[in-house]
Subunit: 133 residues, 3 copies
Amino acid sequence: MRWREIEVSTGSREQLVEITSAVASEIGNSGVENGACHVYVPHTTAGVTIHENADPDVARDMLTGLARLVPAEGDYRHAEGNSDAHLKASIMGFSAMVPIIDGLPALGTWQGVYLCEFDGPRRRRVLIGVLGS
Amino acid sequence: MRWREIEVSTGSREQLVEITSAVASEIGNSGVENGACHVYVPHTTAGVTIHENADPDVARDMLTGLARLVPAEGDYRHAEGNSDAHLKASIMGFSAMVPIIDGLPALGTWQGVYLCEFDGPRRRRVLIGVLGS
Amino acid sequence: MRWREIEVSTGSREQLVEITSAVASEIGNSGVENGACHVYVPHTTAGVTIHENADPDVARDMLTGLARLVPAEGDYRHAEGNSDAHLKASIMGFSAMVPIIDGLPALGTWQGVYLCEFDGPRRRRVLIGVLGS
């Protein structure tokens, strides 16, 4: 299994940033024909998810929906004031696993891979690893 | 790693459909003794989770609970009217990873693997891949 | 791929218990240099997540935030009275996948791996498997 690290710069406190092309390119470089690509975010206030890549309103609706679930202000004790970001990141998760079939990412027609920023703007690291043969 | 695709037909807008037997059968066919089975849903309005398979009321309570978290109607912009389904799917996730120990799925006593339909009824694809040796 | 099982005793109904050291030790014992560590919770009312390990208030805020999302009391039918625990566990998920780079867990600076108890106190099983070479 080989790992590569990329950097993503985010531009606002909450943002979905598509990283599908970095995932596809790492799969291509690996030469793996059948396997899985592990996309990992080594942060606690950013996560990763799969999401529709056709209509930007879907991303906006997802951030709005998450903000209603987990308000930025609330009965929080953590002094840094970003407790909502920690919970949102845990809800989305820190790993996405993308199947690799015949050397290509087997994403659905409308699926893209997205870094989920919840406490930006920041520079974020993403680890991309390819398993298989 | 080998991948197989199955199809699941869902019968209502929101439904949990158990697919544990397809997972177990693919693990059996693979001959893998120790590894992990990757169950992947290549859609953006359906996901996958692990869930109790003993009492059907648990599935009903989960869908009711998620619907309270993410109302079908709301301040959404996405024109297709299924923004709630996208968020629910991202909350559940698109991959389940099931350990394989001694050639069998190492699920807990009460665990089953479920496709989570949030915008049905539809025909859904599920990819099942087996890693290990 | 090799699997090991550990036991974790929880002390209250809801609790985050750090298990990073067990994960790191299993990675060390495996001799794997580059791969991924699969941490799996074979229960339906406990899950696993990655979380900040520096400030205990973050864990408290996460449990409080989840309890607001999914109230313990509600319009539930499941007779055991722990429907909230099932939904919380599905939201967190049952697998965490930790990258292994140069023989070490490639967790972020502030990341730890946590068992999420939602229906304790209980004894819980955790499966830890190492993939790679």
